[in-house]
């Protein structure tokens, strides 16, 4: 217990000691320090540091060297590297300083394991400077008297330390201030140096770890001079047209340095320099005459210099100066060629003479004019024609013949040698052979095999073949000893050129040999447009047009036809480029094909647009093979049918097309013989004498219960009714109510309000006794009856009985009278229409009333009367009817029933007020 309190007291005392130490004197005091202080260490070397504790700390804090802990930054140095030298000194050793870092601190572990820092140092690690290498110097002349010298060197590795370089130099007995580089470590410039004194130069590099000197360089600065180039260069024309004289000033005194020179020159526009032979300019000078130049040519000159003995450096090239040589007469005549047009007249030519302007090196000046002489070879006596031309062509109209054309170019100095061209009557000489072309170095080379004869020269003619422009001929001359040349012109790639080579002989010229060529080929700009010419079941004939020259971009080597079905693989067919048609075979019938075509040059191909077609379902002749037999069979069947029908025409007619009796051709053959006297037929007899009223047609209408009077069935009667209406009902009744009927009361055919109840007490019936209409069997014979019984019942029954074997369907008979009148009369027959009243809703209407409308005999037989007469008779009839019954006539003159209403007269009548009721 006591011991514990002692330790606490001791700790407090130690703390107070620290505090008292730190505040004593007002300055912070450390309990120790490290030596060396802020060392600079060589990288990779070993290093030992000592931490020395102050004695005062020992006294107050019981701090000893064995408590020291070394740290690099915050990392504790292994204790194996510690060594306690005595109780106040501890050392740490590092075998390799590369493991060191800043700061290196000395710490102590006080009581309570509290780590206290005693001291720390900054460690700088680097490398000593290397020996500067490759020291070299050069003296740049900057003015006539100022020659700064710049020395450069390789400073060596990076030292990681502040390393200073100094350029040192001295004379044998004089030291000069060091040259200290600014911002760099590998060069320095001495502002002025003295020539002809040996100068020793070296570089010293120094940092905290040491110094290093380069090798010493001993030199005379005059030996390393790069002088300024000569200035004020001037170029003057000499007397000769091939000489130019250069003059200049040297910026360095000949007493200081003797110079040699380089002179170079080129023509303006050229990029290649020509140099005057160095041996010609190896001595000091300030002028030089350049010879061998071309007349009237602008040259550019430049000059440089260096020490005469070649020690040192060449100066830069001087500024360029130009000069022009004087003129000389043209060195050669202009190349000449011609185009002969013989189309105008068979007896003469239009000759277009063309010559080329001379190249500047040939013209040797400004060409003032051309002198053209044309001399006919055939007539030597005739004088030559001379022309002075300022242009390069001349068009002449010459008679057919051989001419010698000479052209001379003239400048201010003189005339050129003449150029001669023979214009022969025909190209009768041997041509060249094997004309070929070859693109090379961006130019088009033309080669040929020379003919056996001696050729003076060749003319190569070419033009661009295009659809859009004419073939503009260009040409060039070549000497007779060559067999190939490059075309000198703007030869464009992807364009077709037609090249012709003419050999020119001393006495004429050979015919031209042509070849087509491309400088550079490309794929065609488009592909052929293919289409079908004919499509069959298994084949299709394709056609296309050749690509135009402008589209080809090269020689078309082949076509490829690519075709496929919708889901099939593409098939390719290669076609010769000369063809424009191809037949695809083995196609599938009734199939959609897509076809396109590619045109290939040497550089590749390009496809044209797709074209689709569908093969036929049937082949050629297949349809004919089917259709023709079918047609024949059909015709045969029709023929057989016709024959059959012809044979059975009676039967067919009977069933299908029965003969309808023509009422207009009917006649009542005979009236019943018992009653002829009772009939008041006197008038009739007069009007229709025996035999004139013979044709009576009988129409049988079977009245069905519901359908017997359908509208359709009644149509034929509509006409009758209409006619009847127009005739105001002057018709003769059936069943005896004919035109010849007795004067009984009849009713009008008016649709409504007709009363079938006849108030007359006596109705005469008549029976038609048929003799048969023509060959037909008479259906019934009526005879006039004197009966006074009510008409309908007896007649109905009579109808039932006399109707023959059709008990359920009452049969009505109509008479159509044909009095042998003309057609006009027959259109207005005087007949009597049976009105059948069919019960509709009323069950008591068990039968139909057969009304007999009889007109007045005088009226009825007036078939030949005018219509107005018939119409005028109607009121009489009506009047008669109204007397017995209340009958409201529906049909009045001027208000005829409509066509729709007409069938009502045949339909069962509806009972109306005061109307007629079925009996």
């Amino acid at each position: 217990m006591f011991s514990g309190w002692n330790w606490v007291a001791y700790g407090l005392c130690l703390l107070l000691n620290f505090c008292s130490l730190e505040v004593s004197g007002g300055l912070v005091q450390s309990c120790g320090h490290i030596i060396p202080e802020s060392p600079v260490l060589a990288l990779g070397s070993n290093f030992t540091a000592l931490c020395i504790l102050n004695e005062s700390c020992l006294d107050f804090g019981n701090i000893y060297a064995n408590q020291i802990i070394w740290k690099i930054k915050n990392k504790v140095v292994p204790k194996e590297q510690y060594r306690e030298i005595n109780r106040t000194v501890s050392s740490v050793t590092f075998n390799d300083t590369s493991s060191l870092a800043t700061p290196l601190t000395c710490n102590i572990l006080a009581d309570g394991q509290i780590e206290q820092n005693i001291y720390g140092i900054a460690v700088t690690i680097g490398l000593p400077p290397e020996k500067p290498k490759n020291l070299s110097c050069i003296v740049h002349q900057v003015s006539k008297l100022i020659y700064p010298m710049t020395c450069t060197w390789n400073p060596g590795r990076h030292t990681f330390l502040d390393t200073h370089f100094r350029l040192k130099y001295r004379w044998p007995q004089d030291e000069f201030p060091d040259c200290i580089p600014k911002d760099v470590n590998n060069s320095c410039t001495i502002t002025d140096v003295q020539f002809f004194v040996n100068l020793e130069v070296w570089v010293e590099a120094a940092n905290a770890l040491g110094k290093a000197e380069s090798d010493r360089l001993v030199l005379d600065p005059i030996e390393i001079v790069k002088p300024l180039p000569p200035h004020n260069l001037s170029v003057n024309s000499g007397i000769l047209p091939t000489v130019l004289k250069l003059s200049w000033e040297n910026l360095i005194s000949g007493a200081v340095m003797k110079l040699k020179f380089n002179i170079r020159y080129r023509t303006t526009g050229d990029t290649n320099w020509i140099q005057v032979p160095p041996e010609d300019t190896a001595s000091p000078r300030t002028s030089f005459s350049v010879q061998g130049l071309r007349p009237y040519t602008e040259y550019v000159f430049s000059i440089r210099c260096m020490k005469e003995d070649g020690v040192g450096y060449w100066s830069d090239w001087s500024e360029e100066k130009t000069g022009v040589t004087t003129e000389d007469k043209p060195s050669k005549g202009p190349p000449i060629w011609r185009i002969i047009d013989a189309s105008d007249s068979p007896a003469s030519w239009t000759v277009r003479l063309m010559w080329k302007t001379l190249e500047p090196f040939e013209a040797n000046g400004i060409i003032l004019r051309y002198e053209v002489t044309v001399r006919a070879k055939s007539s030597l006596s005739s004088p030559a024609e001379k022309y002075n031309v300022n242009t390069t062509n001349l068009t002449l109209k010459l008679p057919n013949g051989t001419y010698e054309v000479t052209v001379i170019a003239r400048n201010r100095v003189g005339a050129s040698p003449p150029s001669v061209l023979l214009i022969p009557a025909s190209n009768s000489k041997a041509p060249v052979k094997n004309v070929r072309t070859l693109p090379k170095d961006g130019k088009l080379w033309v080669g040929w095999t020379a003919p056996n004869s001696y050729v003076l020269k060749y003319v190569i003619e070419w033009c661009l073949v295009s659809n859009s422009s004419d073939c503009i001929i260009e040409w060039q001359n070549e000497p007779g000893n060559v067999q190939g040349t490059y075309l000198r012109g703007d030869i464009k790639p992807f364009k077709c050129y037609l090249i012709t080579v003419y050999p020119l002989y001393a006495d004429g010229q050979g015919s031209g040999q042509s070849v087509k060529a491309y400088l550079q080929q490309d794929r065609p700009s488009k592909g052929p447009t293919v289409q079908t010419k004919k499509v069959g079941k298994a084949e299709a004939v394709l056609t296309w047009n050749h690509l135009t020259v402008d589209e080809q971009n090269g020689f078309i080597r082949s076509y490829t036809i690519l075709y496929k079905t919708v889901d099939g693989n593409e098939t390719a067919v290669t076609v010769d480029p000369s063809k424009t048609e191809y037949t695809l075979s083995s196609l599938t019938s009734d199939t959609l094909y897509t076809v396109r075509m590619m045109a290939y040059t040497d550089e590749g191909g390009r496809s044209g647009p797709d074209f689709t077609f569908t093969t036929q379902k049937f082949g050629k002749g297949e349809i004919e093979a089917i259709v023709v037999p079918v047609c024949l069979a059909f015709l045969l069947i029709v023929l057989l049918g016709v024959l059959f029908c012809f044979n059975k025409r009676d039967l067919i007619k009977k069933h299908i097309w029965p003969i309808v009796p023509d009422p207009s051709k009917s006649n009542i053959a005979q009236w019943s013989p018992q009653v002829p006297a009772k009939h008041n037929f006197s008038s009739k007899d007069q009007m229709y004498p025996e035999g004139s009223f013979t044709d009576v047609s009988v129409v049988e209408i079977e009245a069905d219960d519901k359908k017997s009077f359908s509208e359709q069935d009644l149509k034929p009667f509509d006409l009758l009714k209409k006619e009847k209406s127009t005739s105001e009902g002057h018709s003769s009744g059936i069943g005896g109510s004919s035109c010849m009927s007795s004067p009984r009361q009849s009713v009008s055919d008016s649709d409504e309000g007709e009363s079938t109840q006849n108030t007359s007490s006596t109705v005469q019936y008549s029976t038609v006794v048929l003799n048969g209409y023509r060959d037909q069997t008479p259906v019934q014979v009526f005879s006039r009856s004197e009966s006074t019984q009510p008409l309908l019942d007896s007649e109905e029954r009579s109808e039932d009985h006399t109707g023959g074997g059709d008990g359920t369907t009452p049969r009505q008979q109509y008479f159509k009278q044909s009095g042998g009148q003309d057609e006009t009369n027959t259109d207005r027959p005087c007949f009597e229409r049976t009105r059948q009243i069919t019960p509709t809703n009323e069950g008591d209407l068990v039968g139909f009333a057969q009304l007999q409308i009889s007109g007045h005999s005088s009226q009825l037989f007036g078939l030949g009367l005018e219509k107005n007469i018939q119409e005028a008779a109607l009121p009489d009839v009506l009047q008669t009817s109204i007397e017995g019954q209340t009958v409201r006539p529906e049909t009045v003159a001027g208000n005829p029933p409509s066509a729709d209403e007409m069938p009502k007269s045949y339909l069962p009548q509806t009972v109306r007020q005061g109307g007629y009721m079925p009996q």
């Binding site: 007995q173 004089d174 002025d192 005059i222 005194s253």
Partner: protein, 237 residues
């Protein structure tokens, strides 16, 4: 080289006139210009009068620099001085104005000014010639230094003149270095007695101009003689 060291002359004289190049901006022509004048060199530590120098030690300077080309370098230096002396004198006269430009013969008569005797000829012993040359150019170096100093004061804008004076002075300094080398290397001479004459310092401007004119005129004459005499002695065998 194996000869014992000889002392030709040794007079201790206080350091006299020194000149140092200065950076100036001047404007004038043709004796003037507009150029920052960088007169670099080098502090001359030569007495103006009655001063000997050479070396401070009893041995010759660095033999590594005394190479075989020093003879040729010396000849080229003399030739260079000879080639530029007349131009320097003419330019000097031109820049001094009247009456120097028109009365140069009278005003610049060198008889009234000290100039080292140069009594050697082509037949003189080479060693003698070398010593005489040393004395001459040591004097010239000092005199040119004084003239340059005076002209910087009197014609500070005469750039071309000052440049030529600087260059001539530099050349004489290099020539002295080479002669020292030759004397030491060939004759083991490392001390030579040199007379410098009267300094112009403190004199009036006209007198300064006249003294410079007289020295330069004499310089033109003597350098030509020196060039002729030195040539056969410096030609490689």
């Amino acid at each position: 080289a194996g000869q014992p060291a000889q002392t030709i002359s040794s007079i201790t004289v206080p350091m006299g006139h020194h000149w140092v190049g200065a950076h100036r901006n001047t404007r004038l022509s043709p004796c003037t210009g507009v150029v920052p004048f960088v007169a670099l060199l080098l502090l001359q530590r030569r007495p103006v009068s009655g001063r000997a120098l050479l070396v401070t030690s009893s041995s010759c300077p660095s033999h590594s620099l005394c190479r075989s080309n020093v003879q040729e370098q010396t000849r080229r230096q003399v030739a260079l001085l000879n080639a530029t002396a007349q131009d320097l004198f003419s330019l000097y006269l031109k820049c001094q104005g009247e009456p120097f430009s028109s009365e140069s013969d009278e005003l610049c008569n060198p008889s009234g000014v000290f100039f080292p005797a140069f009594r050697v000829n082509r037949t003189s012993e080479r060693k003698e010639v070398m010593v005489a040359m040393y004395k001459l150019f040591a004097f010239l170096n000092a005199s040119l230094g004084n003239i340059t100093r005076d002209q910087e004061e009197l014609n500070p804008t005469a750039k071309e003149l000052l440049d030529q004076l600087h260059n001539t002075t530099k050349t004489t300094r290099g020539l002295i270095s080479n002669l020292t080398c030759l004397l030491c290397k060939d004759y083991n001479i490392f001390q030579v007695h040199v007379s410098y004459g009267e300094s112009s310092k403190g004199k009036r401007a006209f007198k300064k101009k006249q003294q410079g004119c007289q020295v330069l005129r004499k310089y033109v004459q003597v350098i030509a003689q020196a060039a002729r005499i030195l040539l056969p002695h410096l030609t490689p065998p």
